[in-house]
Structures are given as C-alpha cells and as structure tokens.
C-alpha cells in the first residue's frame, strides 16, 4: 500500500515517465473519445489508477520515509501493484495486468532469471537430464510408478505445526481469485492429498516416485537457491520396516550408478519412536510437543547448544529432561541405546533394519546415530539421512516413516514412508569428488548442401536419415565448408553428409566419417 501512495504524491511526470503521466492526466479528465488511438488502453488504466487517485486525500505524511522516496521505482511495477491490489479486493476478478503502449516497452529487461532461480541452457540441461534419468531408472528398477502434482498448491496444504524451516520459507501468494496459494516447498503433502483422494481405488501398497521442482522463499545467503528439484520415493501401506530398508536400498543403488561408494557417503539411521517419543512419554509431556521437539533437535548442528536448550525449554521441557535428551541423542550404538532405554518396538525395528541392510547388501553404508531426527514435523518412526563422510556438505537426502500424516489432512491414516533427494547438494558433491560426467551434444549426422539450389535435396537426405532414427542437424543457410566442419566438431557429429550437384545427379551424396577422416560416395537409399 505504502509504495503506491508514495509514488502518487511525488511528481508523477518524473516518476512514471512521460507517457504514463499523459495517461494519468487523461484518466483524470473525461474518458477519451471512441476513435482515439488510446481507447484500447485507457479504460483499463482508469480502472487501475482509481484507487491511487481516490486515496490521495487520506495520505498520511508518516509513510513518506526518505528511504522509500529515494529508492528507484519502476513505473511498471507500480501500475501492476495497483492492478493486483484491485484484484485482491474484487473476488474472482479476471482483468489482466495493465496494458501498456508499445513505446514504453523498450527498456532493457534483466537478462538473468529471477533471484534464486536457474535457467537451464543446453549444458546445464544435459546434467539435469542425466541426473533425472538416474533417479527415474532406479525407481523403475524398484518397480515404482511415477506421479506428479501441481507446482502450485493451496497454501492450506503446507501450513502445519510450528518451527519447521520449510514452513517458514513458504513461497506463498494470493491469486487473482483471492485464493491463498503456494509454490510447493516439498512433494509429500501433495502425495498425501492424492492418496486420500484415490481412497480405496488404489490397491496398496502404493510405490510411487516423483521428480519435481520445489520452492522456498529464503534470504539469499550461502548460495542457496529458491528452487530445487527433488526426487521422492514413497511406499504407502506397508507398516513393516522392510519398506524403509527398500527405500535406503534404492538410494544406495542410485549412488552406485553414479560412481559414489560407501567410503564417500553413509546413512545415519535412528527412530523418533524410541529416542524421543519414549522419553516424552516417560516425562508425560504433551503429545503435540513431539513434532516441535524434533524440529528443534534437527538444528543441533546449525545452532549454538544454548539456543537449542532455550527452545526446548520454551516447548515445556524441564532442565532434567533436556539433559537426558541430549545425552541420549549423542549415542552412536544401538546396544548402548538399548542399555539406557530398554528394549522396545523401535529398538526391534532398528535391529530388523540393520539385518535387512545386510541382505540387501548395504551394511557398510549405514550406521545408527541417535542425533538424526530430520527437520520435518510429520515423521513418526525410523528416520534416516545420507551424509557426506568428508563432512563438507549438508545432508544429501533424508526420509523416514510418517504413519500419521494423512489424518492431519482429515484422511484415514495409512502406514507410509518416503524420502526426498534434492538436485543441489548431490551436484556439489559430485563436483567435489570429480565425478561429474562429461556430457556433450552428440548428433549422428550433419547434412549440408554445397549449393543453395540443393537446399531441398539436403532436406530430403535429412528426412531419410531421421526416418531411420538418426539424429541429424541440417544446415539451413549458405555457409562455407570451414564453418560446417566447426559446427560438426561442436556437435560431435559422427558423419558429415555433403550434397553436391554432380553426386546428386547420380542420386548420390558424399560422406565423411569425422573421427577417421574416411570419405566416400554412397547412393542415398543405401545410407543408414
């Protein structure tokens, strides 16, 4: 609100640019005649400017802070802000953003993607495709089916329990129909929504995977971005720990495929059921403190211990409980944990998981570590995270069991577990280990006419090759042979096919194998 009013009270001709000022004065007087060239734009502008104009008399001088007045103000942004506010007030309004005259549009745009987001030029896209291909191939090997959900969801889906980092960074908006929406920060709530929607029509267990873009609105420090892609695998309907064992196995398979070994990466495994729920029950703490305590504990390595203690106090834990909790969390051996807490459901689960890990063949990848709790409030049982053994990077992936998520959305609970695996840390990790693959453009053929009149003939040749499944870059302009060779080298082409007048008259083309330099002529229909 303030921005808009500030602009309107300063000299409009200066702030809004010449032609906007003209439009402004137009809209202050009578509507322009029907045959005026401005007719198309002015009625809309009158509509958009109205709130500015009518609110001028009520303007309080206190909003005119010097900082705001000196900040550069983009006239287009102001107009759009006015439009958006207007939409906000009229439920379901469908009017578009303000319409501008062409002459106003020649300002140079910012050629970078919005702050915290990425373009994928070909070289980046090849890496992304390679990574996604491996995500998908592993999921396929494990018999999982791919799903996806809208990147834009109702905000309500993501608002829950206190303190999660992922909640505080929700990228939320109000849309033009007054709905609160958010760019998804994670995939699990959408998955839960779809599971409830499908109800009994989907035969359990569901084994679903997804690779989707997730968003967070975070202060742009430490080179963290506002979007990343996340690979998720989830198993819905299996209460046994075999499900968690299967999920960790699939991540291990992924690591192996891309050249990562058990000496590079490991998994820390624990169970919230044991370590935290047990402890909270023993001290009869309120049930709903559980999620919050987990979220606080997840920050142990990122925050001073005094802060952690303060936060734990604030959710109702006494000094004694905190002391015991922190002690238990430092345990790195299952036997030791059993000594302290006695045997129970979770100890049994963990033992079973470690025995299954042996059968799956990844014992050397996992270890018990009571400090692992994960930062999401909805986990209820086993939790795990993949970590860099060199200790340089954040968690590479993480997951766990969330048997009670569905009921928080009003559905019937189903046993469920899953993991998320982002595309950011793994690429950093691969760079660090010099494991990033060399991915280059690769075409089978480059086809080039040696004479402009043979452009059509070259098109015929390209069509034949493509019909045989060969990727073919057709040279579309007149270019010297030197240029064509350079392009062929850049595209790692296997063959250069030259269409020359004499050869074409005989129904032939020239072929040059680029690796060997071998050259020959061949009948067009014998090309393969």
């Amino acid at each position: 609100r303030s921005n808009l009013l500030v602009a309107a009270t300063t000299d409009p001709a200066k702030l809004w640019g010449k032609s906007s000022a003209r439009l402004l004065s137009l809209s202050l007087s009578s509507p322009p005649a029907m045959n005026s060239p401005l007719r198309v734009v002015s009625p809309l502008l009158v509509l958009h400017l109205k709130p500015v104009l009518t609110s001028l008399p009520q303007l309080s001088p206190s909003v005119l802070s010097p900082r705001r007045l000196f900040a550069p103000i983009n006239p287009r942004a102001l107009l759009c802000t006015a439009a958006a506010r207007d939409h906000g007030g009229r439920s379901g309004a469908l009017t578009g953003p303000p319409v501008l005259e062409e002459e106003e549009l020649v300002t140079k745009i910012d050629v970078n993607p919005p702050k915290g987001t990425r373009d994928f030029p070909p070289e980046e896209m090849r890496l992304r495709n390679w990574l996604f291909h491996n995500f998908k191939e592993v999921s396929r090997l494990y018999g999982f089916e791919e799903v996806d959900f809208p990147v834009l969801e109702s905000e309500a889906l993501f608002i829950r329990k206190a303190g999660e980092e992922i909640r505080d960074q929700l990228y939320c908006f109000e849309d033009r129909g007054n709905r609160r929406v958010a760019l998804r920060p994670e995939l699990t709530p959408s998955l839960a929504r779809l599971v409830i929607q499908k109800g009994k029509s989907a035969p359990l267990p569901l084994k679903w995977f997804a690779v989707g873009q997730c968003w967070r609105y975070e202060r742009m420090t430490r080179g963290r971005r506002r979007e990343h892609y996340q690979w998720n695998m989830d198993i819905i309907g299996v209460p046994e720990v075999t499900a968690e064992a299967e999920l960790i196995s699939s991540i291990v398979t992924f690591f192996k495929r891309i050249g990562i070994t058990a000496s590079d990466v490991g998994f820390k495994v624990s169970s919230r059921k044991q370590v935290l729920q047990e402890l909270l029950r023993r001290y009869s703490l309120p049930e709903n403190a559980f999620g919050k305590v987990c979220v606080i504990i997840d920050k142990i390595e990122k925050m001073p211990i005094e802060e952690i203690k303060k936060d734990l106090t604030s959710v109702g834990l006494s000094e004694d409980v905190i002391k015991e909790l922190l002690q238990v969390l430092s345990i790195k051996s299952l036997a030791e944990l059993e000594d302290i807490l006695g045997s129970g459901e979770a100890i049994a689960d963990l033992k079973h998981l470690f025995s299954l890990a042996e059968k799956f063949g990844y014992s050397d990848w996992i270890k018990f570590d009571a400090s692992v709790v994960r930062g999401l409030a909805y986990y209820t049982g086993i939790v795990f995270e993949g970590f860099d053994r060199a200790g340089k990077l954040r968690a590479i992936c993480g997951g766990g069991r969330y048997d009670r998520l569905l009921s928080t959305f009003g559905g019937d609970d189903l046993p469920a577990c899953g993991f998320g695996f982002g595309d950011a840390v793994i690429v950093e990790f691969l760079k660090e280990k010099h494991l990033l693959p060399e991915l280059s453009l690769q075409v089978d053929n480059i086809v080039c006419a040696l004479d402009p009149d043979l452009r059509g003939a070259a098109a015929t040749v390209a069509t034949i090759l493509r019909g045989k499944g060969q990727s073919t870059d057709l040279v579309l302009e007149n270019k010297p042979l030197k240029w064509v060779f350079k392009r062929a080298a850049r595209a790692n082409a296997q063959r250069l096919i030259l269409v020359g007048t004499k050869e074409w008259e005989k129904g032939m083309v020239g072929v040059k194998i680029l690796a060997s330099g071998e050259q020959y002529e061949i009948k067009v229909d014998e090309l393969d």
Copy 2:
C-alpha cells in the same frame, strides 16, 4: 483489505475458532512469558494481528455487506491474508506464513488439486511421459538441444503490446520481497531472455527445444485448464525460410510417430509480412498498430464479425481498409494473393516454403490460408498452425517467425522462429481418433518370500535381479499367494519369483512365467 476487517468486527471467538481467539486476546495484552508453551507461536501472531487491531477504529460500516458476512470464512485464510498484506508493506520481509497450533489443523483439506490444475496419478503420468518422450525424441532426431527456464519469471518479461489473450490471463503475483512475478504463460520470452544473456558466446544458429509447464489465469469455462505443458522448438539465427520448413517438418514427424496422418491434420500457412504489413504500409497506418491488428484478426473465428470490425476501427483502420483486409484474409490460394497484392518478399518466402515442403515430403500436410495470423503480437513473418481437418478442435499447435522480439527486451535482434505445441488439445484429438496408446505398468519380476523369515532372502534375490537391470517389485509384507498373483497381474509382471525355505536351502528359487504358466526352479546366480 475488506475481508480482513469484516472478520475482525464480528465475534472473533466464533469466526476464528477457540484457540485463535485465545491467542488474539493474548496478543492484546502483554506478551506472554518466556516459559509459556505459547511462546514460539505468539510473537509472530502478534505481528500478524497488529494490522487488524489497529485498523478497527477506522472501519466503515459500508464494507459490511451481508454477502460477505454470511460467506463461510476460513480463519486460516484470514490470517494468511493479513500476513501477506503485511509482507507487501515491508520490503524484503522474510517472515513466514502464520504459525498455528496443532489442534487447529485437523480440518479436512480439499483433496482435489487447485482449480484448473492437474494431479498426475500413475496412469496419467504414463500418458504424459509417452507424449513427452515423443516430443523429445523428435527434437533429438532434428539435432535440437534441450533447455529450460524458471516457471516463475519477472512479470516485466510478459507485459507487452495490447490485446493478446495470453497477456490478459497472466498468472501474476507479488512475492514476499515485493517483486512482481508471474507463472510463465509461454516459453518464448524466457528463451529470448536467455539468448540475450548468452550473447555472442552461443554459436548460431541455436536449435533449442523445451517442454515446460505454462500457466494462465482464465475463467474456468469450457473445461479449459489453468496450466498446460508446451513443447517448443526454436531456431535462432537463420533468416531463411528453410528454418520454418524444418520446424513444420519436425511437427509432421511427431504426428506420424503417434499415428496421425495428413488426412487427420493439416497446417495452414500464411505470412504476416505480406498480408498485413503490406496492407498497413499501403494505407500508411502507424507501425505499432501491426501487432494489435494481428491479435484482433486472430479472433475472427471466435467473435462476431461486427465486434472484429469495431476493434479494428478502434486501432485506427478505416472502413475501406477493413473491407479490403477481410477480403484479403479470405484468400486460400497463393496465386490469387499474388494477383491482388503483386509479388514481393513474402510471396517469395511462401513459394519457397511450399517447394521445400515437397522436398521434406510433407506437401500434402500444408496449404496456404491468409486468415492465419496467430494470436501473439511478436510474429513478423511466416505464421502457421496445425488444425484438425474434422474441424472439431482448436488449433493443435502454432508458430512463426519473430525476427524483432529480442529488441523489445533491449537486446540486438536476431532472426528467429519457433512453435508451441500444447499437451491438452493433442490428447483430446488422440481420444477422438481412438489413437491413445494403451500404457500399463510393466515390471519384469515380482519377488515374494513364502515365509516371513525369508524376507531378507527375498531382498537378496531382488537386489541380484535389479543389479542385472531388471525392474523388480519386492513384496514387503506377509501376503497370501492369491494376493501376490493379483498384484503380479496388475503390474503385468513377466515372472513371479518365489523364495521358499526348501529351495533357498539349496540356493534356489521358484520361477513362474506368468504368460505361459511355466514353472521351474533355478539357482539364484543363474537368474537373468
């Protein structure tokens, strides 16, 4: 603004729910003590509720319309709205959405995706993957490189010239840092941005393709959605019409791959350069009317002709010009067009395109039709659209030359052309023609332990099979054999691998080939 105030003036305890009311009164009094269990949530809430509370005295009774008072109001939505408005006012504010107590979260969420958007459960995802695979495979055959851009862009990138449907439906927001952003309605402006950014470092011509989700905020009639995926192919740096010919060829190849023939689909081709630019020049109409005239003409089949005429008058065309224009637009033969307008650059281009179509082998797919102009303002030359010969559906795809787009963003112009091909109309079309493929889940093996103690052994068997590249669904629970067979049938499994005690003792498993019913035992290491 009005929503928020209305809520605050009615009984808060009723509208906001019990615990919100409690928090509300808390925030009205002194801040809660540090050790209160509410400490974590309340400071944030105080912040969010402040605007509501301070604005109460100024409330005008006129906003209390009965409709608003009786409409069901979601307390969470109100809180979020307050938060969003607050962010709007504080530049760069990073506070999250309001934090709620757990007890408030048990309302049932809407299990459907937001209005106008889609979930992709496995069966829908298989169709999407099949379609995208064909998009990508054709692009690869033509030697194009894949790129992508953020789905969220600066709004400024999409605000241009008047009257385009795509502009009026811009899905725009203000983000928490006061930036005007939009979910992309199309891919071309982002592509142009990236081309300018890359500058001279990218060797021309660029042949780029993308498959990305695009959004529009449209009134939800006629079953149209608010998001769709679009396949784009673009050639940057080729002024010759060979580029357009190559693009149409690639779409034809796509159609053929998915079983569509020249008797199902055709392309209407025209050139804006000739038909419109020429006409406008002849009557010395302003250069900037060109884009608008094109956008108006594109609506000819969707709007009454009197409306079209009125719109054309309003951008400055006289009755005579309109008459001649409409006459020219009805021409369906290149020779006739040449008779009326005389020969020129565009006639030559079109002739060249038709001759190339012959060499590419798709003459029977294309025809000249002067009425095709496409609805995007930035096209400058040849335009084309794929249409349903049965006349039932909207344009299937469309594209053209846009040689002057880059300069509207402040870059140096480069000759460019491209097309967009959505995932919505083509799927409708395939349904209509009974050409939708049968796509079912397909796994190679189902592995099942016949005894709970052999769950680990089954995991070992699954790991071996997956290591050999075979997709394997491992049964994770104790299930009767009948259930396993049903699951195997649903997954179209080729083999069922049974791990029984006796066989396992010999290092063997039972195999059942599901298509033939053949059964045998085999050594585990001989499985392949």
